[in-house]
Symmetry: C2
Subunit: 199 residues, 2 copies
């Protein structure tokens, strides 16, 4: 359909977002037209800000406004433990939980040879450098997703770091709290049985 | 969850779009973080542009970069017919069809007393003014959606304009081309039978 140029550009921009096709993008663009000027200018500004003001922390790779990030510079935290996660979102989930006070290392992805993502494409090298510099680190917690890629990335890192004599752990696998056994898949059940604990 | 401020702002901005809740907004914001700088700045620019460059045509109410719009100023078009539609999107759908070469009038809504939308809230007054100025207009096509609000808005406008001796028509109702009778609702079927044509 022939839209006025500014509208056509906005539709194209919306279509670059994940899960948004042409129909939804068009609906969003027309909706934007009817939004208050203030909301739209704030939206535009927040888009620019997110790119201009947020960077990866040069130590842990987490997103941050200041470099190094507030977690890496916080001397109150337990500096003997580093939790390795896939994405910044995971750091926020653990911070939300509030029980962990060690440091993090964000890989920004997992190994996936099928997609051409090898060890060079994710933040593994910086983890090694970090461990060489800071020998006070005693434990690495591999908090990667329980997907085939997550598991194989965990295996890779664990093989890499074992010779350094570090304690390497991974998150417990089992039933999600509040979930039903009948809906759990059999690998989850197997892990739950293997990892059973005494009451 | 505690996000860095620029990210939190972007999440809030995304949440102002229709059909986007907190989870999707968060996913989109993190996705935006990983998008190429160029795409994000184009996105921000197109948001500002759509508000700065597009206006309502002072004659027909359609959205346009130049006022009056290219349809209203096009002397090649049939100036005896005005098609009344709900939104700019409808103009674009008819233009896409390519068989109509008259003018348009965009109401920007339909009467909906429940939502406090009366004749003053939509572009009806400007339609009357327009008809008083241009007495070459012979036919008004009411191309409103086949919803209760659309139908009652059509009835309202038709009663308003009938005394002026104009020909007032509305779009044919019936089965959508390519659709199945078994899935059509009974009002559609009734209209399709009433409006049957000879082969």
């Amino acid at each position: 359909m022939q839209y006025p140029t500014p509208l056509a550009h906005l539709i194209e921009a919306y279509m670059k977002l994940p899960g948004i096709g042409e129909k939804t993008a068009t609906r969003l663009a027309f909706y934007t037209l009817d939004m208050p000027d203030k909301d739209v200018s704030e939206f535009a500004e927040s888009l620019s800000d997110v790119k201009a003001k947020l960077h990866q922390c040069s130590i842990c790779g987490n997103i941050t406004e200041s470099d190094p990030c507030s977690i890496c510079t916080n001397q109150e935290r337990d500096r003997k433990t580093i939790m390795v996660v896939e994405q910044p979102k995971d750091v926020m989930a653990f911070e939300e939980m509030g029980e962990y006070d060690g440091l993090y290392h964000v890989l920004h992805g997992v190994l996936s040879p099928m997609d051409g993502i090898g060890p060079e494409e994710i933040n593994i090298k910086s983890l090694i450098t970090r461990l060489q510099k800071h020998d006070e680190v005693k434990e690495i917690i591999l908090a990667l997703n329980s997907t085939p890629e997550g598991e194989s990335t965990a295996m890779y890192i664990s093989k890499l770091l074992k010779p350094a004599g570090l304690k390497i752990t991974r998150l417990a696998a089992g039933l999600a709290v509040g979930s039903d056994i009948e809906y759990a898949n059999s690998i989850t059940l197997k892990r739950a049985v293997q990892g059973r604990t005494e009451l």
